[in-house]
Subunit: 111 residues, 2 copies
């Protein structure tokens, strides 16, 4: 299994994950836990966004590079990590994510 697939499997286990898509260099979902339609919408829309974000980062600071993009919506949080020419898109339920963040800081408090 490639590194990026190992990363994909690890991210699938994060809290509140509603869906995860691994997209190859041509923008095609090669692994997904979501339905085909949503997978294609996300893959198709995210590719130009990552491209645009990366171009902007480099225009402001040529030695810098994009690591990931996170979009918070009313209902979910979408993480897009660009790994080499692959993209991992993770859709997490925002309530479950906030809960996990609260628990992780309170579990740190009690440890």
């Amino acid at each position: 299994m490639s590194d990026v697939e190992a990363t994909f499997d690890r991210l699938l286990k994060l809290p509140g994950v509603m869906g995860a898509i691994l997209v190859n260099g041509e923008g095609r979902p090669i692994r997904t836990s979501m339905d085909a339609t949503s997978s294609h919408i996300f893959a198709e829309k995210m590719a130009p966004m990552v491209k645009m974000a990366r171009a902007m980062v480099r225009e402001v600071e040529p030695t810098d590079d994009l690591t990931y993009l996170r979009m918070r919506t009313l209902k979910s949080e979408i993480l897009v990590a660009a790994e080499n020419e692959h993209m991992i898109i993770l859709v997490q339920d925002s309530n479950a994510l906030d809960e996990a963040r609260r628990n992780s800081s309170s579990s740190k408090r009690s440890s």
Copy 2:
């Protein structure tokens, strides 16, 4: 002072802030703590990204909406909050931000 300007002043005080820009509905920086060139690059590039992100969110789930966009780079973290037709762009040093996040969870631990 408008709500969005009050939000802008509050965000300026967050840890690691290297720059903050308040952009109006026409994409023009109306307040900034950065130089004019960087302010215009960020304002000009972020507007279409927020538009694209918002369109994607609504295409997947019409009742959902974008709250903010966060871009992590090797050197910084850029937060873009869309408030009504305004945009607040916040550039934070990623090391200072990670340090503040560690301190906030350890200060919760000791309180």
